[in-house]
Each structure stands twice: as C-alpha cells, then as structure tokens.
C-alpha cells in the first residue's frame, strides 16, 4: 500500500506531523522526529514526549500523519490507526540509531530520546503535490 515514492519522506530529513483527537473531539497536533517504514501497510512513529498524543490514542486510535518529501515538491497524507507500542526489537533499535543521528545533526542530543516505537496501520496514503497542476 505504501508506494516506494513515499519512502524518502521517511528518512528523517524533515520532521513529520502527527494529528490525533480525544474522545470529546479536541484535536491535538505535534511534530515528530521520525516516521519509519515498517512494511507495506505499517509505519512506526517515534514516541519521545507526546503525553497528550498517548492519552488521545488510548481514547481514539485514529490519527493523521503528514510527511514532507526531501525535494520539497510533495507532502504525503496518511490516515492511520494505532496498533501497539514497542520498546525493544528490530524496529525500535533501528529507529533509536537513526534518532541519535538526527539529534546529533540538529544539536538536540540532550533532548531527543526514543521512549517507544508506535506502530500504526496505514489505512490510506495520498500524495499531496504542493503545487496544484
């Protein structure tokens, strides 16, 4: 389901956006350092600070992700559903390694710390060209 064209947007060049909503209808939106390709129908999002996001996901597993293509030409819009949190294993280890690199490049070594890899099922993914043709 996730096209190969979308994978460069998951290499950590730019922050991504994660939107959630609690059960009373209040939306919440936050930046995330990593959206990691897991398989053709799942991505993992780095869990670092977002307590409100975690609380919202307990109420309502539906979320939206925006990815930014490193070329600056496209966004990718994803509708996703939270599946589980992982704190060990291959995906977690790979994300932790990449996050250390991102933190080093952005001077955030003392701030960015991976607390979990949140696995989401991708329900829909859409390329959003930034310039309307």
């Amino acid at each position: 389901m996730i096209p190969a064209d979308a994978k460069p947007s998951m290499q950590g060049a730019f922050q991504s956006i994660l939107a959630t909503c609690n059960s009373d209808g209040t939306p919440n939106i936050t930046s995330v350092s990593q959206v990691w390709y897991v398989d053709e129908s799942h991505v993992a999002v780095s869990f670092q600070f977002f307590n409100k996001t975690v609380a919202n996901l307990r109420d309502n597993p539906h979320a939206a992700i925006r990815l930014f293509d490193p070329t600056g030409k496209d966004h990718w819009g994803l509708d996703v559903k939270f599946v589980r949190a992982e704190t060990e294993g291959t995906v977690f280890d790979q994300m932790e390694m990449q996050l250390e690199a991102i933190a080093s490049m952005s001077g955030m070594q003392d701030v960015f710390k991976l607390r979990g890899a949140h696995i989401y099922e991708v329900l829909r993914i859409e390329r959003l060209p930034l310039i309307k043709t």
């Binding site: 922050q15 956006i17 939306p27 936050t30 930046s31 977002f50 600056g72 959003l128």
Partner: protein, 158 residues
C-alpha cells in the same frame, strides 16, 4: 486575559507556516498546511491551499474544533500549539492581496530549505486558491521538544 500573549504573537508572526488540525464527526483528525496571515490576542487568520485542504471545509462546518502547530524547525525547535474553534471559513479563491506580505519571507525560507522549495511554498499561498480560516483561540501550549512539552501558556491544563 488574552489567550495569546505578546511573546507568542511575535513568534507566530516570525514563523508563518503552520499545520492546522481539524476533525470529522467520527473524531478522525486531518492535517492541513497553512499560512498565518494575521494574528491578534485571541484570533489567528490562516490561509489553506484548496488542493491541500482535505476534509477542512466539512470539518469546519460540522464542528470547527481545531489545533494549530507552529514550529521553528529546523532551528531551535521552539513550538507552540493553539487550540480553539474555527468560527469563519471563506471559500477558496486567489488572494493576491497577501502577496506583498508573503514575498519578503523568501530569504527566511531559503535559509533552511532549497530555493525551489521555498519559492514553491510562497507560490502556493499566493498563486493558488486558498481558504481563509478564522481560528478563535482559547488555549495555548508550549510544544517545544523536551520535558516541558505540553505546558499550558494560556487557557487550561493539557
């Protein structure tokens, strides 16, 4: 007490690209790239490109619940989240009147992204149909990465 203090207003005016979040009646969220055109102590006017608006028109009409994220990234990652209600949505049209305000931002954007991408970012705000969104702000949160992320600046507990 105003929801948006002077410090946050200055930050919003220095960082006009933002992400707007709305939700549908099933509480499914959606995110929309937006450009901050005007800021007052309790209100933000955003422009959202029509072709990136997704479910914005329906969501605004259905409930109006919204959150707006402004982040200085790349940079020091300072981030602020505003929450409130969309109280007005003008239909999408070309808004050339905003061009004089947008064009001077090109050097700021080229400082952290390729020139072509920065140019495209400005063009899509002035040369494509955009919705004008009025967000009445009731809550403001510090969203800067770190242990203080989620700290309320105004309007209630996170």
């Amino acid at each position: 007490m105003p929801a948006i203090n002077e410090d946050v207003i200055a930050f919003l005016r220095s960082r006009p690209i933002a992400m707007l979040c709305t939700r549908d009646r099933e509480n499914h969220p959606d995110a929309h790239e937006s450009f901050i055109a005007e800021v007052t102590t309790d209100r933000v006017i955003c422009l959202v490109p029509e072709h990136l608006a997704g479910r914005l028109p329906q969501n605004a009409l259905d409930n109006g619940d919204a959150a707006l994220l402004i982040s200085r990234s790349p940079g020091d990652h300072r981030s602020v989240q505003l929450k409130g209600k969309i109280t007005d949505l003008e239909q999408a049209r070309f808004r050339a009147e905003f061009a004089p305000a947008v064009e001077p931002l090109l050097p700021m954007f080229t400082a952290y992204m390729p020139h072509g991408a920065a140019r495209a970012m400005l063009d899509r705000m002035t040369r494509q149909p955009v919705f004008r969104v009025q967000l009445d702000v009731t809550q403001v949160f510090d969203q800067t990465p770190g242990p203080q992320a989620g700290r309320p600046i105004a309007g209630g507990a996170e």
